[in-house]
Symmetry: C2
Subunit: 329 residues, 2 copies
């Protein structure tokens, strides 16, 4: 599969773990290294597992390590791990020596179907998620589904949140495969990457609102992650809660077909994902939403499903309406 972007294109290849033989500087998630000890042969820079690695402190540590290792502008970085490693290493690649090539080797379901494709990289600030980053496409994405054999169940479900998102926002037919993901996992992953890459090609820089539909559930989901300091909830868990809440918000605003939120909730519950949240009155949620990148200055922005398989960015929703809505949940 080929993904096109403004500066060129990159292949997404489905490979075995034994085919991962890139030249360059390897950076890998510590859990992945423990489970796949052969990777240690590449002398990787070890990235601690978990969203807290998407921090300024970790970013600084990694670029300084590259400087110490004497990594050159013509050497590529190979990012082996989930979305955290891909986003962090991608931002490092975009900025170390003003930019070096990098290869994405996603090892989680979530990063295979979502974050490894599309060129968005970045880190979090205490003020909010992904507030610093770049558009920096990889030069290649290598999907080795073997990695999923060692993925903990909770992390598999985490990825399913993004799989279901594609069904909700763009192609309801994905839901059939999503109900039985193990039946043909590679084909499901391929379908998700196809949907994502097509949307990204139509609006690489997030300008027309087209790419923003990938953010369904993320205004509220990111706010939950921020309020919890990127602990407690995995990304997919937070956006599962966010998708249900945003579908309810859409219904409240008359933008979403009645009954959609319940169906979204049923799908996610069936996938073993959380859909409820206990702290909707936390003022930190609105504060975090205020810093969402989709906002254009007037009110808050949400990518709202209009009906199953269709989504649209809506801006300018009054903060007071959102606050009242959250308190009613």
């Amino acid at each position: 599969m080929i993904v096109r972007h403004h500066m060129g294109e990159y292949p997404v290849r489905f490979v075995g773990t034994n085919e991962l033989n890139h030249e360059g500087v390897w950076l890998a998630d510590e859990n992945v290294l423990r489970l796949w000890p052969a990777l240690a042969g590449h002398d990787p820079i070890v990235i601690p597992s978990g969203e807290t690695s998407k921090s300024m402190a970790r970013y600084e540590q990694v670029v300084r390590t590259l400087a110490h290792r004497g990594a050159k502008r013509n050497q590529q970085l190979i990012a082996v791990g989930g979305g955290v490693v891909g986003d962090l290493v991608g931002f490092v690649a975009s900025s170390y020596l003003r930019g070096v090539p990098f290869v994405q080797v996603p090892t989680t379901l979530l990063s295979m179907v979502d974050s490894s494709v599309g060129g968005k990289v970045g880190i979090d600030l205490p003020e909010g998620k992904n507030l610093v980053g770049a558009f920096w496409p990889p030069v290649q994405v290598d999907v080795a589904t073997d990695f999923l054999k060692t993925l903990p169940e909770r992390h598999f479900r985490n990825g399913m949140a993004e799989v279901w998102k594609y069904a909700f926002i763009e192609d309801w037919s994905v839901s059939e495969q999503a109900l039985r993901p193990e039946a043909n996992l590679a084909s499901l992953i391929k379908r998700c990457i196809e949907i994502k890459s097509q949307i990204v090609e139509e609006d690489e820089y997030d300008r027309s609102g087209r790419r923003a539909i990938l953010n369904f559930g993320h205004s509220i989901g990111h706010a939950i992650e921020t309020v919890h300091n990127y602990e407690d909830y995995l990304h997919g868990e937070a956006i599962a809660i966010g998708m249900v809440a945003e579908a309810r918000l859409g219904e409240r605003l008359g933008l979403t077909l009645a009954g959609t939120a319940d169906r979204v909730a049923a799908c996610l519950t069936g996938a073993g994902l959380p859909t409820e949240y206990g702290d909707w009155q936390n003022p930190g949620l609105i504060e975090a939403m205020r810093r969402d990148k989709k906002n254009d200055g007037e009110g808050l922005a949400f990518s709202l499903v209009t009906q199953l398989g269709e989504c649209k960015l809506t801006t300018g929703i009054a903060e007071s309406d959102v606050r009242a809505f959250l308190e009613s949940l």
Copy 2:
């Protein structure tokens, strides 16, 4: 004047300080604010003066301040100051919310003739200068030469180092104007920007070696800055020393016309710039040069003047030869 780049183009305008009325978030050098108090009306984020502001710590502080102020993706940043502020704010602009537009308002001679044009932005690491950054062109450059009236003499000379560099590397005829810069300063600045923007347009991403000629004197100059923790020497002072030393190195290697180094030294001495250095045996110099972005893995790289008005990137110079050369100085 219009500068073209891969994504579009931007105008360089010569304006009065009273014409600086951009909408957006202002960020300004603290010394400039003290000397031009009217700028405080824009409620700028204050950047402490000096190269040490091109640090990861300052970068983090600025992006977090923008998040706290609620700066949005459609708001531009206005960078008012010298090369430090332009490079720092430019890197912030390239990465805050994955990129926002920014305007360069250079207030020093050095930033007017060099760093505000060309799109290179970045910060330093303890390991070396400009090791982290981006290619992120401004949307506009506003040159207000009025600012030079309050520029300390040492900083004016600092800028003259880069003015002389254009004479050495590309157009010896610049030397006539450089001998009497005050005679027609605006015209001299314009000529320098023309030379730089033409070189940058030919090789925006530093790939062919063409843009690298702008780095004459910088392999050694950056190493001196690094060894001194970006204190003691201003950038132009360090590269004045670097240009003389690299011209001597070029002569030693038979790549530079004999007698060139003495003429380079005479021009810079005449401009009140340092050309000697007392610590050539410091092993930190070679270590810093090893991390220079121009290196491709084999030996060290230098942009060497071949004769006055002509320069060429040379890679693969053995470290041992450079060390022996430095010790002979």
